[in-house]
């Protein structure tokens, strides 16, 4: 149970600069790889299709809202809306299946250790529970700031929220798309339930991603205005130490830190990614406002 925390001694007060003195001294511009190219592309596909699904799903959910009707008419009416919604759904489904295939390959073919358990795993562990409590205590000034491993608890929550969300929204969506087929093994009332589930879970996903995820990952003061690591795949030595001290420490101790060193991201690529990223955030925030108007304007 405590494997995750056990591997790393809890010596936060010591501070990391001494232990990581070597990279700190040598490079002002030293970069470490955090995400592979495939993972970064997957994120782009994920948020693009999600934005598409949100933009086309919201008008259907709040169909009596004038903005929704206006948007739908401009796009070409309900037929076009539904087509785009289904198209984005298929893209996201393929991305999800690709991700599952990737996990299966890493686990079964490459026998990658620690994918399901341990410090680099997405699976929550006891340290995450401690981190939640510790982080909250730090918020209100009752304790030191926790130090995080490769994936902090809120990042794991983001991941599992999306994972669960895709299963729930995807299943209920396909159940509506192919209702007569699903009716062969679902009770009749389930056909009513899937619309409720689809709508509510999608609402949760939209509200969560466009507020919590945006702020936690991009807009909070430490990362403002945008954490570019999901686009460039790399972060500076300073960022790495600051945000994931335990992982940095562990890799340094295991002598694996050098293997993670990557090239500095290309200038134009960073700027290009910024345009894409900010566009996505802007669209997301607009959709957030429209969602809140639709939800509270209706009730």
């Amino acid at each position: 149970m405590t494997d995750g925390t056990g591997t790393v001694p809890s010596e936060q007060p010591e501070g990391q600069p001494q232990e990581s003195g070597q990279p700190q001294a040598s490079g002002k511009e030293k970069y470490y790889v955090r995400f592979t190219l495939a993972q970064r592309y997957l994120h782009v596909v994920l948020f693009t299709s999600f934005l598409g699904l949100a933009a086309t799903g919201l008008p259907m959910r709040f169909s009596d809202n004038p903005a929704a009707r206006f948007f739908a008419r401009e796009v070409g009416g309900f037929g076009a809306i539904l087509f785009l919604h289904k198209f984005c759904a298929v893209v996201l489904t393929l991305a999800f299946l690709y991700h599952l295939k990737d996990i299966a390959t890493r686990a079964l073919v490459h026998r990658e250790k620690g994918i399901f358990w341990g410090p680099t795993s997405m699976v929550p562990n006891w340290k995450d529970v401690q981190d939640v409590v510790g982080h909250l205590r730090w918020f209100v000034g009752l304790g030191p700031k926790p130090r995080f491993e490769r994936y902090a608890y809120w990042e794991k929550f983001d991941y599992w929220a999306v994972f669960w969300g895709m299963i729930v929204i995807g299943f209920s969506g396909y159940a509506m798309w192919f209702a007569p087929f699903f009716a062969r093994f679902l009770p009749g009332w389930a056909l009513n339930a899937v619309l409720v589930i689809h709508g509510e879970e999608a609402l949760l996903a939209i509200l969560f991603i466009f507020s919590i995820h945006f702020v936690n990952t991009h807009l909070r003061p430490d990362s403002f205005p945008m954490d570019m690591v999901i686009f460039t795949g790399k972060e500076t030595d300073e960022e790495f130490q600051k945000k994931r001290a335990l992982e940095y420490q562990r890799l340094a101790a295991e002598g694996k830190l050098e293997a993670k060193v990557g090239d500095k991201p290309v200038y134009w690529w960073v700027n290009f990614a910024r345009v894409i990223g900010f566009t996505a955030i802007l669209i997301g925030l607009v959709l957030l406002v429209l969602t809140l108007i639709g939800y509270f304007g209706n009730a």
Binding site: Q12, P13, G15, P59, M60, S63, D64, A68, R69, A72, R73, G76, G77, F78, G79, A80, L82, H135, L136, W138, F139, V140, G141, P144, K145, R147, W154, F157, A161, M176, A179, P180, F181, A183, R184, L186, P187, G188, W189, L191, N192, A193, L195, V196, I197, E200, E201, L203, L204, L207, F208, S211, I212, V215, N216, R220, P221, D222, E238, K242
Partner: protein, 432 residues
């Protein structure tokens, strides 16, 4: 013929300049005109009015006598009213064979009074006169017969295309008063002329030229038009199915057998008749998107609960977004005219018929599929417990996740801002 016209003109001028003289004197003068080979007064007139003198000999005498003066179309009486008669048109009209004095009964001799008594159409048309006397148009001064039938000397039978009351001309004839906003306002009516003209009936009349399409008269009657509040009126609520049924007989039969028809027949004035769903004047082709969209809320204006739950479903949501109105509207499932209670085996929403009814759109509909409830209410625990708890769980999840993380993010944001302030704008705070 030139002679005829010239002589006639001269005669007219003479007559106007020398009004008190008797017709006989005028005739004598005419008889002495050069170039006139006629030997009797009658023969002179015959040659002068050759073009219009085609009627029977008994009528001829009286008409020609009058037309000797009144054929001048520019002729006016002392008050400035036109008293000229278009002889050609009059002779072609349905009254062309009548003598002038048959209608202008107060005129016996020449010279006649300056203001002869008003013509009484009722003398012949007694039934129509009785009808109009009790109608909304009863005031003879506001609605003389000619206000609908047109020029008194050019009245044609109603199946003649020249008639003002020919089916295709009726909307325009009624519209000559009823297309006026001012008039509509004065009588507390709606100006329905333009919406009628855009309706399926107006289109059929004005564009398709369909004689059988409903014009104003088809529903309101002609002479005995009554307010729709009058129980005798064909547009009174309970009479409307019968009125529309005059043409739409098949629909009326279906309607009468349905719940709405029975309710109306039983005296329930809240139940809908044709015009409640189709409107009275702006009737649209029922397959049109606009009609499909407009009529669902009409059903909902009575069936409020059912409409609210329908609005929660996919069927409703899609239509509102435009361009896609094929999704089920009320009558796609319940039927339109002969709506029956779901308990009736003949109802399309009877359990036994659901696979067929749903199958009209959902080709693969099966027994489990049709258990879907198109009016389910997730907020009603008693009626839809499973759905109620599904929604309850989803909402609990939604608000607990958002509640926790909103607080989490807010506290984090504040803390990080303060750390940043303490450690300078560039980096994150060092650990405590």
């Amino acid at each position: 013929m030139r002679l005829t016209v010239a002589a006639s003109g001269q005669f007219g001028r003479k007559l106007r300049g020398d009004w008190p003289q008797s017709l006989r004197i005028a005739r004598n003068k005419l008889a002495g005109l050069p170039g006139s080979g006629a030997t009797s007064n009658s023969a002179v007139l015959l040659s002068l009015l050759l073009a219009v003198c085609l009627s029977g000999p008994s009528a001829l005498r009286a008409q020609t006598d009058c037309l000797a003066c009144h054929a001048d179309k520019t002729m006016q009486d002392a008050a400035g009213h036109s008293v000229g008669v278009d002889a050609d048109a009059f002779h072609a009209s349905i009254h062309g064979s009548l003598g002038c004095t048959d209608c202008h009964t107060s005129i016996k001799d020449y010279p006649h009074p300056d203001t002869p008594a008003a013509v009484k159409c009722a003398a012949c048309h007694a039934d129509q006169a009785t009808g109009i006397a009790g109608s909304v148009h009863a005031s003879a001064s506001a609605h003389p017969c000619t206000s609908c039938h047109g020029d008194a000397h050019a009245i044609f039978p109603k199946d003649d295309a020249r008639s003002a009351v020919y089916p295709l001309n009726i909307p325009r004839t009624c519209g000559s008063c009823h297309a006026s906003d001012a008039l509509a306002k004065k009588y507390g009516l709606q100006n329905v002329y333009s919406v009628y003209m855009d309706s399926i009936h107006g289109y059929a009349v004005s564009k398709e030229g369909l004689l059988v399409a409903a014009n104003c008269m088809s529903c309101h009657g002609s002479h005995h038009i009554l307010s729709h509040k009058d129980p005798q009126s064909p547009t009174y609520k309970t009479n409307i199915p019968n009125t529309c049924g005059t043409c739409h007989g098949g629909v009326e039969a279906e309607y009468s057998a349905g719940v709405h028809g029975k309710a109306v027949a039983g005296g329930d004035l809240n139940a809908p008749v044709c015009s409640d769903c189709h409107t009275a004047h702006s009737i649209l082709q029922p397959t049109l998107a606009d009609f499909r969209m407009q009529s669902t809320p009409i059903c909902g204006s009575c069936h409020k609960g059912r409409f609210a739950t329908y609005q929660d479903t996919f069927h409703s949501q899609l239509g509102l977004l435009g361009g896609y109105v094929q999704t089920a509207r009320c009558w796609d499932c319940h039927g339109a005219h002969g709506i029956l209670p779901a308990s009736d085996p003949a109802s399309p929403v009877n359990k036994a018929n659901l696979i067929k009814t749903c199958g009209r759109c959902h080709a693969d509909a099966n027994a489990s599929f049709v258990q879907y409830q198109p009016h389910a209410n997730p907020r009603n625990r008693r009626l839809n417990p499973a759905l109620y708890f599904t929604r309850f769980f989803m909402n609990l999840l939604l608000w607990s996740v958002l509640g926790f993380f909103s607080l989490h993010t807010l506290l984090w944001f504040i803390r990080a801002k303060r750390e940043q302030g303490r450690n300078g704008p560039t980096g994150e705070a060092k650990h405590d």
